[in-house]
Symmetry: C2
Subunit: 253 residues, 2 copies
Amino acid sequence: MQFTSERRLDDGVLEREFTLDEIPGILWTPASVSPPASEPVSASAPVPLILLGHPGGLGRMYPRLVDRARHSAAEGFASATIELPGSGDRPRSAVAEQARADLRRVLAAGEPVGDEIVDRLILPLVEQAVPEWRTTLDALLALPEIGGPVGYSGGVIAIGTRLAVVEPRISAAILFAGSFVPRALFEEARQVTIPLHVLLQWDDEGNDRQAALDLFDAFGSEEKTLHANMGGHTGVPRFAGDAAAQFLTRHLK
Amino acid sequence: MQFTSERRLDDGVLEREFTLDEIPGILWTPASVSPPASEPVSASAPVPLILLGHPGGLGRMYPRLVDRARHSAAEGFASATIELPGSGDRPRSAVAEQARADLRRVLAAGEPVGDEIVDRLILPLVEQAVPEWRTTLDALLALPEIGGPVGYSGGVIAIGTRLAVVEPRISAAILFAGSFVPRALFEEARQVTIPLHVLLQWDDEGNDRQAALDLFDAFGSEEKTLHANMGGHTGVPRFAGDAAAQFLTRHLK
């Protein structure tokens, strides 16, 4: 993990860009564990970490990511994210580009989105992204200012679901039920046992509400909560974001 | 409204039983607006009010009601409740008793609960209870220590839905999607416009989950939130109760 830039936000949060195996990422740490160079290094204990998921495109998603990171820092958490395969400045995959083109064509024609397209679009993304997040987690947890526990929050729900199954260091997850779910993921969902907080935008135009409800039903976790709200895909109300943050605070502190 | 008993809880909350038109009820007010007789009357402004719904049977429900009232008092709210028609010490109705017997028979036989039984069970209850709650609200708002705004919380969802439509003094409502909903109520639900916070116990044995989701979908409110949790009908997690309380605090303060 190589830090490539560093800047201080006005609330004292330290924002560092990094690359890891040529994947760009961003790490935000609260002022308590990242004081300015002019001050003595704090004796604070290492802080818990939240992995911030997103739909791909760090540049485009930056304003929302930094907003989430600042709120997490105020709760005493570090946050980190990496670019998804095939998004932002990362190389495109011919398979994914073809699947996206097919999806756009189907949506433009008003046809239902078949399982076959969803599988081509999502499964390779999950296969590639999940090991990258795990490698990133290795590197982040090796930093002295970051400890555990680790939470995961948002982004492509298929990636969050797979991570919740395979990565034992993640102890609670916020999942955003707003993207396509391959059929195969429903079986994996039954293997999830960590506490889950699932966000669903009830009138999300491009999302299959019934599939989201079915996925929520499938999760094996003893503690799972569904918060459904109005406001469309990108209109998660501030109070719903606050409630999700409270869920992670409850489980990571 | 006649107060029939008065006692002070250990957190300073004043609990008063009352009767109104022979209907028993309980009012809880925070210490700030109901100081002990030995202290000067506080100059505090009148407090907002939460009407506490329940499934009927004040005696049986008392432990949970007083718990909710104490939490509300800590937020600076008065709370009040009245007995439902045909429950507790109130006279039984032959129609309701017959409907309940028919319901028990159908459930024991493992048969689906038909609309006809639900209508006989719930519609007369709504018709009688809603005017009683409104009369109670008149009397409560006439007390100097109680102002507005007014919230409604829990109990029979058909009563809460009707109240949300017909009672303009209620400005926000928590509804518990855990009881039968007559078909006619779905049309009324579309007329609800106040902010709603709907609680659903996902694995509630005796409850029709799909009907609850359909009802949530039907509500006309621009702000409506569904919180679904594990734990069976009576197992609403503490954090879900806290989130519901936060919803009312957000809207009544």
